[in-house]
């Protein structure tokens, strides 16, 4: 089907599908991103579920959203303000006002508008009639009635037919972005295999939506987004939580260790466990424990027994794991702890994203108990971060905390599919059977890692414990000097990891007036703004930290030579404080947003420009 309106080229677009929880917005969004993939665009997606399981129908709290950010240029974020909002009912408009900008196109199902719906949405008057939406382009489409019309020959009851409303909306959007609706067939065919009638119905309604948009000329123009200039290769769409699971599995395979994950469900980390449990076929041992403590302890036991051991959680769960993390530090066993951060403190805002577990990750244990801390920067990057976390844990014989965030975990991005064999090798220091020189706490001269002597191996029997032990022999030791030595060695072992990680990169002029520093999931939005300002010729640069403990060796160099350093975080200033401590020679400014929401590009841009004045 070709499309008859005037076609405008765009660099990138943010579209949000919003409807009541039952309206199938997640499916619609996924279908649209599938077609975006086929269109060769770069993209990232973000689902925005309601907090309750089945919130009251038609209300603002019941609105379920799915956002797709796609473009011709690299897409670094799941997008902030929308270019297009598909709103299946009045509550969907109300719930998403925060994401609109002047000129946003709202595709609205006018059939959903009635007094009851307005009231449920908390409107006192029809927002499409007064000036509530005057800044936006509202396209009123009779989605419900047209869907019923399109399916009238199917002999279905009304309720069944209404389930396809979302396909009508999708058809309209496909038209708007000049997409061929046959692109969707592949998906329909897999998803509804053996249900030809459903496939037929979906295709019919999508086509109806498409034709409606075309025939009624509801858009002044349509848009095309040229394929992105992506590296050659095979791609897939992946959420951060799945990417984390797969990255760990890849590390297990590459290192020749089985993977063991002992975890307890907690939002928004549960999906990593739920993903791992699927792969019994790949010999993944995933153990749903009775609580977080059993989760980490079973993993530490599995680590002792020779597995790549993992435990996954979110903030409150990380708190509970504190004591056992200390034991992991003391026994110098490899362990990857994934913390998918959410809004805190305490139970906080469990369905919202935040970066506020950083200090706990670095310091949240009794005694001087250093370990490696890494942070993933995007959904797809969770794959590589998890892989690196596992590599560092095993090669350096230490626990590693990998920080991700709810928004990364639930959001998705495209991943150029790597070959596991192309990933860096992982060579854990496994002790050799009957090695006469084996000693439990003998250390590698370079890394200071001790050896991993696996139960079952002949000639390496030994006992470990959480008590202080003599360097070398590993026997329990109360010797004062030894304790100082071991404390320093544990610290030094982690610091030496700096020799095994890449140098800190900087985007923009290394001597720019303003250096913007970020870590974790704020990567994309900060980078987008810096890139934009660089194009405008502003003296700005960006250093995004993946390696937090230890910091890369050249950190001081990267921080040098700027008039100002601004650290941007979704917390009350944790990384900036950590930098003050570790890199005390610099002055830092800070910008903190603690709203369970990502930075908006506009607010960052204002802030950066302010500082450049």
């Amino acid at each position: 089907m070709a499309n008859r309106s005037k076609v405008v080229e765009l660099e990138h677009v943010v579209i949000r599908f919003a409807g009541d929880s039952g309206d199938g917005m997640q499916l619609t969004g996924n279908l649209f991103s599938d077609s975006t993939a086929l269109a060769g665009n770069d993209f990232a997606t973000f689902p925005d579920y309601p907090g309750e399981i089945r919130p009251p129908q038609g209300t603002v709290s019941g609105v379920s959203g799915f956002q797709v950010h796609f473009g011709h240029k690299p897409v670094h974020t799941t997008g902030d303000l929308c270019d297009v909002l598909v709103a299946m009912n009045p509550a969907s408009i109300k719930a998403n006002m925060r994401w609109l900008k002047p000129g946003t196109t709202i595709i609205f199902d006018v059939d959903s508008m009635n007094d009851k719906a307005l009231e449920k949405a908390g409107y006192t008057a029809d927002p499409t009639q007064d000036d509530t939406l005057s800044q936006y382009k509202v396209v009123k489409a009779p989605i419900t009635s047209m869907t019923l019309e399109a399916l009238k020959d199917f002999g279905w009851d009304r309720k069944a037919m209404l389930k396809s409303k979302n396909m009508f909306a999708l058809g309209i959007v496909m038209y708007l972005f000049n997409r061929d609706i046959t692109m969707l067939n592949g998906y329909f065919n897999t998803k509804f295999k053996n249900k030809p009638e459903i496939i037929k119905a979906n295709q019919t309604v999508v086509a109806a939506g498409y034709s409606y948009a075309d025939t009624m000329e509801i858009f002044a123009n349509t848009y095309r987004i040229e394929p992105a200039n992506l590296a050659k290769g095979k791609y897939r769409d992946i959420t951060g939580n799945v990417a984390t699971a797969w990255g760990l599995m890849a590390a297990a395979e590459r290192s020749g260790r089985q993977i063991f994950c002992g975890s307890y469900p907690i939002t928004p980390a549960t999906d990593i466990l739920a993903e791992l449990v699927k792969y019994k076929n790949l010999k993944v041992k995933a153990f749903q424990a009775e609580d977080e403590i059993a989760g980490i302890c079973s993993s530490l036991g599995a680590s002792f027994a020779g597995c790549l051991a993992v435990t996954t959680t979110s903030g409150p769960g990380l708190s509970l794991k504190s004591e056992a993390l200390g034991l992991a530090v003391m026994t110098e066993l490899p362990l990857v702890v994934v913390d998918v951060q959410r809004g805190g403190p305490s139970t906080g805002l469990p369905t919202k994203s935040e970066q506020s577990d950083l200090m706990q990750a670095i310091y949240g244990r009794n005694g001087d108990a250093p370990l490696i801390v890494l942070a993933a920067r995007s959904s797809a990057d969770c794959f590589y971060s998890a892989y690196e976390a596992a590599k560092l844990a095993m090669e350096h014989m230490t626990p590693v905390i990998l920080l991700t965030e709810g928004a990364l975990g639930n959001g998705s991005e495209i991943l150029r599919i790597p070959r596991v064999a192309d990933l860096p090798a992982i060579v854990p220091p496994i002790a050799k059977a009957n090695d006469p020189d084996y000693q439990p706490y003998k250390r590698d001269e370079e890394t200071l890692a001790r050896q991993w002597a696996l139960p079952g191996t002949e000639g390496l029997r030994h006992r470990i414990s959480g008590l202080e032990k003599a360097n070398g022999s590993g026997n329990l030791s109360l010797d004062p000097k030894n304790h100082q030595l071991m404390t320093e060695l544990r610290e030094e072992k982690v610091q030496r990891v700096a020799n095994y990680i890449p140098e800190q990169e900087i985007v923009g002029d290394p001597n720019a007036d303003l250096l913007v520093v970020s870590w974790g999931g704020t990567y994309g939005v900060v980078l987008s703004v810096v890139e934009k300002m660089l194009e405008e010729g502003k003296s700005v640069a960006h250093a995004h930290f993946r390696h937090i403990m230890p910091l890369p060796k050249n950190t001081a160099k990267v921080l040098s030579g700027h008039k100002k350093i601004l650290v941007c975080e979704n917390n009350n200033g944790q990384f900036v404080n950590y930098l003050r401590e570790k890199m005390p020679d610099f002055k830092y400014e800070q910008y903190n947003k603690i709203q369970g929401l990502p930075f908006l590009t506009a607010e960052l841009e204002n802030k950066f420009n302010d500082l450049l004045k």
């Binding site: 993939a37 027994a305 034991l327 030994h462």
Partner: protein, 344 residues
Amino acid sequence: MENTNLNNQVVNLTKEDFVCDQIVKWCPGCGDHAILKVLQDVFPQLGRRKEDICVVSGIGCSSRFPHYMNTYGFHSIHGRACAIATGVKLANPNLSVWVVSGDGDCTAIGGNHFIHAVRRNMDMNLLLFNNRIYGMTKGQFSPCTFRGTVTKTSPQGTYEDPFNVGELVIGAGGKFFARGVDVNTKELTDICLRAKNHDGMSVIEVLQNCMIFSNGVHENITGKDVRDDMQVKCEHGKPLIFGKERNKGLRLNGTTLEVVTIGENGITEKDILVHDEKEENTGIHMMLAHMMPPAFPVAIGVIRNVDAPTYDDCLTDVIERESAKSNIKTVDDLLNSGTTWDIK
């Protein structure tokens, strides 16, 4: 499971093989010494290489145990022995895993991991050294301390009833529960061997004497003059007869147990309850575990020993089944599965 050796090597070990070079640091006279000897006697009989045995413990006097056994060992943190051992066993199901824990370690801070390991029927053997006190921290009451006991943290006597470990285990769905006495080393050895032969979680409560902080707490059971009358040995298929004259027995009267004397009131051996450790129903084992002096003798030996699938076997089975039937053999396969697209 544990009596086969991975490489079918002949394993011929003795007690000395399991003695470690570390100095044993329990108080002179502590019941733990006797139990250590028992396990050093039992381990050569496991039919396993020393390398295939792993001893896991928490924190407490009792939990020092792994340091004294010449096997792989993990002396962990307080209360977490069961959780850590679960990971060890699932990671390497070929290992013979022994957990050593104290009444505090296992039923106070470690209570949750304990009941869950029991429920899941992990194939591990757990020895709970019950001295009814926190020994290592110098004598505070534990969840197994009898009501009214004066300790460092109960100067006016405790005002809470203790757990009965057997009842707790059975209530949590336990399949194997036995009770032994530290100094009855022969009997305890037998119990450990029975535990070893049981597939699944075996819990052995050892009545252990702490010389320092609860000395004599088991005296009304283990004392020379009372032990025959205050212990009834549970032997599968045999009547529950006890007493110095072996003329006392247990009889089920309606819904409760009672102690009767053979030869009195027309009671004969036939009236005595015959022990059935294989009874699936929990009721009778609860009643046996429940018994306490002075009204009843304490049940010693294997009280419950019921077969059920073990968690680790089930996991192994699912893994085998799933790997056999799936086309996805590597992470590369996985990465390339589902919806993908090419950019040229």
